[in-house]
């Protein structure tokens, strides 16, 4: 059983033509994938389709071995697949960092104490526990990104979809981020990036998205 299985997906935006055409994409357990592609190639769109935020013109989406069509089908898998948005401002909206990070756990049904505990754990892990009480929109770009990452990780996802996680991060933050990817036991992750060099050694497969289709890349 694949964790993510897209078959024959086509999707496009008005005035733009097809962005994805008859695309197949499969993520199995243990896979660590880097996703490359030019601007506007449809990498982010692919993530949205995986999580059912956009519905494809044609094709099938299967998550954890279950065909997903309706909004309801996606709500279960969404809790197990963590998506880090490209712009952390899209993700952070709470009055304080700690509230933002515990937004997910609370929605999962944890009580306040548990939610706080797990949120603090992830802030600590990413080295930003000192930001706990700060207002998210006043943070720097890199700090925002880390908080957004913490808010995804606090859900305890099995699979991570990361949209340019390292853009704007300073060197130490990148290191911390990589150590999290290495040490934590995620079943799989897909990283959209323009800097595949940083991920060397963490990656099992590199894919290139071009003209609506994915093709494997042997070496970067």
């Amino acid at each position: 059983m694949s964790l993510i299985d897209l078959k024959n997906i086509s999707f496009g935006y008005p005035n733009c033509g097809l962005v994805l055409s008859n695309l197949d994409f499969k993520v199995d357990e243990g896979e660590k994938i880097a996703l490359l592609g030019g601007n506007g190639a449809g990498k982010t769109t692919l993530f949205y389709i995986i999580l059912g935020l956009l519905s494809p013109f044609s094709g099938e989406v299967e998550l954890f071995g279950k065909r997903c069509i309706t909004e309801k089908d996606f709500s279960g898998p969404r809790k197990r697949i963590g998506l880090l948005f490209q712009d952390p401002d899209d993700q952070l909206f709470s009055p304080s960092v700690i509230e933002d990070v515990s937004f997910g756990p609370l929605n999962l049904g944890m009580n306040r104490k548990e939610a706080l505990e797990i949120s603090r754990y992830w802030l600590e892990r990413l080295g930003i526990l000192h930001l706990e009480k700060r207002v998210p929109y006043e943070l720097s770009g890199g700090e925002k990104k880390l908080v957004a990452l913490a808010s995804v990780l606090s859900m305890g996802p099995d699979v991570l979809l990361l949209d340019e996680p390292m853009a704007g991060l300073e060197k130490r933050a990148v290191e911390r981020f990589l150590s999290v990817l290495k040490d934590e036991s995620f079943k799989a992750f897909v990283v959209i990036t323009h800097m595949p060099r940083f991920l060397e050694g963490e990656i099992t497969r590199t894919l290139f998205l071009e003209r609506g289709r994915l093709s494997p890349v042997r070496s970067c």
Binding site: L53, K79, D87, F93, G104, L108, S151
Partner: protein, 250 residues
């Protein structure tokens, strides 16, 4: 963008429970609206000014804000004393200055400034997020509270975005003037802003759904009433009853 400069501070009013402050602000404003004689209005203004000074907000900033508020009042002073029928004080060409008009202007000025001062000292001393939380606790419909809070959250992002778009236009030689081209350019700038906000709104919702959002907002922090809040409540009660009493005596 003007941020919450006034919300930063350590005064008693800054530390008070925002729920209490909202309720008090509402009560006092309403009461001032109902007052009609000069004595209680003066008293209200003096207590509002006292409250405002106790917040220790930068006086220059306060004066600036009050000046803006009073522009409309000045306009009224220029017109109403002459356009109100009543006993004439003196005549100046075709204009007759009446005492009724002057009195009305005075009442309006007192009311306006008293209410605005109450508002500054009670509402602007809390952060918007604290106010939103308080409104949620006060059982204001959650859609309204969330709108309030989300709008505020993204105000800065959008302001930045607008500034970027406009700067880019200016760098390409755009100079605003009274002509159709200017208006069309502004319309396109605003249109771009709206499209970006719309898309961002979509993404924000998606990000929330991805984190298991199902329509309920959970509150992590709770307010607790402290001694200062009770002090504030009782002094307000005293003030408002005495205002009412004086009004009733007149």
């Amino acid at each position: 963008m003007t941020c919450e400069h006034m919300a930063q501070g350590k005064s008693l009013l800054h530390r008070a429970d925002p729920r209490v402050k909202i309720i008090i602000a509402l009560l006092l404003s309403l009461e001032v609206v109902f007052l009609s004689s000069l004595t209680p209005l003066f008293l209200a203004l003096v207590s509002a000014a006292f409250m405002l000074l106790s917040t220790r907000i930068d006086t220059r900033l306060l004066l600036k804000r009050l000046l803006v508020v009073n522009i409309f009042v000045v306009l009224l002073w220029l017109i109403i004393p002459f356009s109100t029928p009543g006993p004439a004080l003196f005549t100046l060409g075709p204009f007759t200055l009446t005492s009724t008009g002057l009195l009305l202007c005075l009442v309006i000025t007192l009311k306006c400034n008293a209410i605005v001062m109450f508002n500054i000292s009670l509402l602007s001393t809390s952060t918007v997020f604290a106010l939103a939380h308080a409104l949620d606790h006060l059982k204001v419909p959650s859609v309204l509270v969330q709108l309030f809070f989300f709008s505020w959250r993204y105000l800065h992002v959008l302001e930045e975005e607008y500034r970027r778009i406009k700067r880019a236009a200016e760098l390409r030689g755009f100079k605003p003037g009274t002509n159709l081209f200017t208006y069309r350019t502004y319309a396109n700038i605003l249109g771009t802003l709206f499209v970006r906000s719309y898309d961002r709104g979509q993404r924000v919702y998606w990000a929330m759904v991805c984190r298991g959002f199902d329509g309920t907002f959970w509150l992590l922090s709770h307010f607790r009433l402290r001694r200062t809040d009770f002090l504030l409540m009782s002094s307000t009660a005293l003030l408002s009853t005495s205002l009412l009493f004086i009004q009733w005596r007149n």
